[in-house]
């Protein structure tokens, strides 16, 4: 299930939600995803918004729709790699911007990152970004 934050464009969140599941391996090539209509009802959003997200995912090669059969994941391994890289870059860009706004230098950033990674390794790895999405 994709959680929608209504303060941001919805279509991007649908694309990201599905892409993230592919990157994490929760969805693999050949898996069927909900139809546009089902997805619209599930998320309580306009069918036109879902249609736009699915169309763009198809253009990127993440999914393909077979007439009368449904929509399936089709991302090839190298595409999954580059999607993963792109999402990582986006997360880092946001993080770096926030750090700069706090006037943190290289030292601060690296130390904070090391601490965070260590904490994540010690814990049970629950701090996925979906949990703090709202």
């Amino acid at each position: 299930m994709i959680r929608i934050d209504l303060s941001q464009p919805i279509y991007q969140q649908i694309m990201d939600g599905i892409t993230k599941k592919v990157v994490r391996g929760e969805l693999v090539p050949g898996d069927q995803i909900p139809s546009q209509r089902e997805m619209a009802q599930l998320l309580r959003v306009s069918p036109n918004t879902v249609q736009r997200a699915y169309r763009d995912l198809e253009a990127l090669g993440v999914v393909h729709t077979l007439r009368g059969q449904g929509t399936f994941i089709r991302a090839a391994p190298d595409l999954i790699g580059s999607l993963r890289e792109e999402m990582l870059r986006r997360a880092v860009t946001g993080f770096a911007r926030e750090m700069r706004s706090l006037a943190c230098g290289r030292e601060d950033i690296l130390r904070a990152l090391e601490d965070e990674i260590k904490r994540g390794d010690d814990g049970d790895g629950t701090s996925s970004d979906d949990d703090r999405h709202q």
């Binding site: 941001q8 464009p9 306009s46 036109n48």
Partner: protein, 233 residues
């Protein structure tokens, strides 16, 4: 292909006694989208929908619906859900459907049955015994069971329980077909905003703000609900 605008209003005004309901309103909408017609009570939402439905006429200005003047020909292609409770209390749910169906050539019995089920409405229940939320659901069934080009839903979410509200929004999304158009008026933005492709904010009979929902979210970095609070602050 030349696209006929779904709706064009040019300088329409309407007064009720000393109250100015619409004030020189200009609006142009493309077909194929779900439009949220937003604004506080008294901003002119219901009056605009009544004019589009051909139930009342503007004092001044021009209106075109689906390329037609409001009237019988346009009305045959649009489904209107009124804000007021217009149901006969003594009829059963099934009886209400049978009665209303006789008025419309585009009534789909199959769709009506499916909608009743989706709305958890018992066909044998007598209308007078239904809760307010259940009557709101029934009114929506009456509008959505038609295969209309344009659906005008006037305050379908007002004053009903959260469960019915959620179900009504879901039914609108479920029944919406590619190329159809829906105009949903509401002052309760939060529960419906995901369903809107475009929104028009009305204030005192004029357009205060209009645009594509996703574009407004991006530009203002907030939900339509939050934007609603800002617009009418």
């Amino acid at each position: 292909m030349v696209m006929v605008p779904l709706l064009t209003t040019t300088g329409i005004s309407k007064r009720y006694g000393r109250t100015r309901a619409l004030d020189n309103l200009d609006l142009e909408l493309e077909p194929g989208c779900i439009l949220g017609l937003l604004g506080p009570n008294g901003s002119g939402k219901s009056t605009l929908l009544k004019i589009v439905a051909g139930l009342t006429r503007p004092d001044a200005g021009e209106v075109r619906v689906l390329g037609l003047k409001p009237g019988p020909a346009a009305r045959a292609r649009l489904a209107y859900l009124p804000e007021v409770d217009c149901l006969y209390r003594d009829l059963t749910v099934a009886g209400t459907l049978a009665y209303v169906s006789t008025f419309f050539a585009d009534w789909s019995p199959a769709r009506a049955v499916e909608l009743l089920e989706f709305m958890d409405l018992n066909p044998r229940a007598v209308v007078g015994t239904l809760s307010r939320g259940m009557r709101a659901r029934l009114k929506l069934v009456l509008a959505l069971a038609r295969d209309a080009a344009l659906f005008l839903l006037d305050e379908p979410l007002a004053g009903i329980d959260p469960r019915s509200r959620a179900r009504i929004v879901e039914a609108c999304i479920r029944q919406y077909k590619d190329g159809q158009s829906m105009i949903i008026s509401t002052h309760e933005v939060l529960h419906a905003e995901g369903a809107f492709d475009r929104v028009v904010f009305l204030e005192a009979g004029r357009v205060k703000l209009a645009g594509a929902a996703e574009e407004l979210r991006r530009r203002h970095n907030c939900s339509l609900e939050a934007l609603f609070g800002e617009v009418y602050a």
